[in-house]
Amino acid sequence: MELIKIATAGSVDDGKSTLIGRLLYETGALKTDQIQHIEEKSAARGFGYLDLSLATDGLLTEREQGITIDVSHIFFSTPKRRFIIADSPGHVEYTRNMVTGTSTAQASIILLDARKGVIEQTKRHFFITQLLGIKQIIFAINKMDLVDYSQDVFENIKTTLERLVDKHGQDGVSYHYTPVSALYNENVVRASDKLNWHKGAPLLSLIESIPLESNQANDGAFQIQYVIRPKREELHDYRGFAGNVRSGSFAVGDAINIHPSGRKSVIKRIEKYGESTEQISAGENGTILLVDEIDASRGDSILNEKANVNNGKNITATFCWMQDTPFTTGNKYWLQQGIQRSLVKVQNVRSKIDLEALENRQANQLGLNDIGKGALALAQPITTKSYKNNPALGAFILIDPNTFNTAGVGFIETT
């Protein structure tokens, strides 16, 4: 069985929690005690139906206000796939959560209210999926019950969305448009009589069948997380570089470079959890032992000799800012790419995206939830590649050196 992570995004009150609650309910992910709880709560609030949004609105503060305020991870499965939904709230001020939720996703569901159609939030959500390179995007037009399941309403919204996609969409992305009523379970898990004019599959079948892609970049890059040196006599000379293959693959006998020292060596042995193995590939952990006694430590990289990566000290990127203190020229941060870290200084801020018009505007700083372009100078060189060509080496976070909070995220531009 496959695992797929899907990000959901929507505005306040477009019924996202209800949709997720519906998926949980219909796939049997809600157990008797949880359903009882929802029944009791629904009745207590005087609803004549099951308020399925109660299944996911996790925190007390949210339930008090009836809104969702943070990224929540929700699990369900069907015989075909396992799903993890990263549910992010849609308020303007919570863009950072949307970027966060989408960062681990392979597909995205953008929810719209059929009565409202495309609003600024829709554009914002769409833009973020493009920034993050999501390859499968589903526009779910919800609350069709409130527009009498009208095909015209749906087609109008679809046309507006298609114009948006034509103008701002990246290459190689698949778009799906589907009308639903989460509240009445129309076209969510099974085809709907009321929406019989819609030819596509119901939402659940759609997310069960959309293709999954993995990082195709073949630059062999391995980041050292921990150096294993057993304190035992028989393993006296053992020095294993434990870490994670960011992209490409490594095999016994491969010629490698250590970054940043530039030392060269050859892989003597690869282990997975103490057992010898011939090869490790992208996404996998491993422990690499080299033929030479080379000094390397946490944060260093082992690079395949043929890897075509950048090891420079300057980066141009698109940033999404996630804290109140603005991102501006001269500020210093810790940059973390995978597990590598370096101090950085902001060289310049060039532009900021107007998320209403989806156009770049000149700017000299980025505030909370702003997205814009700028450049950084690094204290230590780190191994990178453009996000577009190798997402595993192209994204980084910036850490505020005073609060240690994760202040923003960056996506390295193609140079």
Binding site: M1, K31, G58, L59, S72, V99, N285, Q336, I397
Partner: protein
Amino acid sequence: MSILKQLEEESIYIIREVAGQFNNPCLLFSGGKDSITLLHLAQKAFAPATIPFPLVHIDTGHNFPETIELRDKLVAEHGLRLIVGSVQDDIDAGHVVEEKGRHASRNSLQTTTLLNTIEKYKFDACMGGARRDEEKARAKERVFSVRDDFGQWNEKLQRPELFDMLNGMIHNGENVRVFPISNWTELDVWHYIRQEKLEIPSIYYAHEREVFMRDNQWMPVSDYVNVEENDARKLTSVRFRTVGDMSCTAAVLSKATELDTIINEIGGSNFSERGARMDDKRSEGAMEERKKVGYF
């Protein structure tokens, strides 16, 4: 890659980040199936070396004896370092006051002992076996969850976690709770226990035990629970689905003595895992409220 393999890779990556980013981490070990799984993952992460951090057990004094036996056996077999934080000691020292009455439990008292233990040993990271599928407040938990000087969780201050990049930078006095098996489900844990042939406390398997009915749950009869005269008692075959303090963990009626049958039963169960935890049922936001004050 199978889902189980994918989850194992993700968890081991996280555990290695803990060892790499923190000076003095520990693994919170209750002896339950989740912490046994976590311990096994940690051992894999650093093989052939031993794990570079101690186990910490917050002992309510109301444990199932079977759990403690297995804990001590694992510690001895693998040459692990074990630190025990005792709730009884904190009661004796007057740091906490034992609850009274029919529903008395030491579950919430654990928080004080946990925080005292963290402070005493100056742990900067504590790994735990909590999973996002367990409870709604857990579903919002980060993999690296920063706690302030007072051990408090503030959902509004949680750091965004992007991709697989974990930010464990903290100030002196702060610490991080780490949840390496966040994305596992209850069934994943069971399948993994079967795949890796892990030993778990015998109480997870069906056995004869005296239980009594309270609030529609079968509770184990023990010295730690106030059984009242009109509580209906019976001796029957039960197993436990979670292992907490004896005073707040309910049993399920079952004859499943093999992993395969247990997995089938859980897969077909109409009740959620924490449905058998009385500590979660105290109020609507019971878990969230406990997390805010430092509960793990």
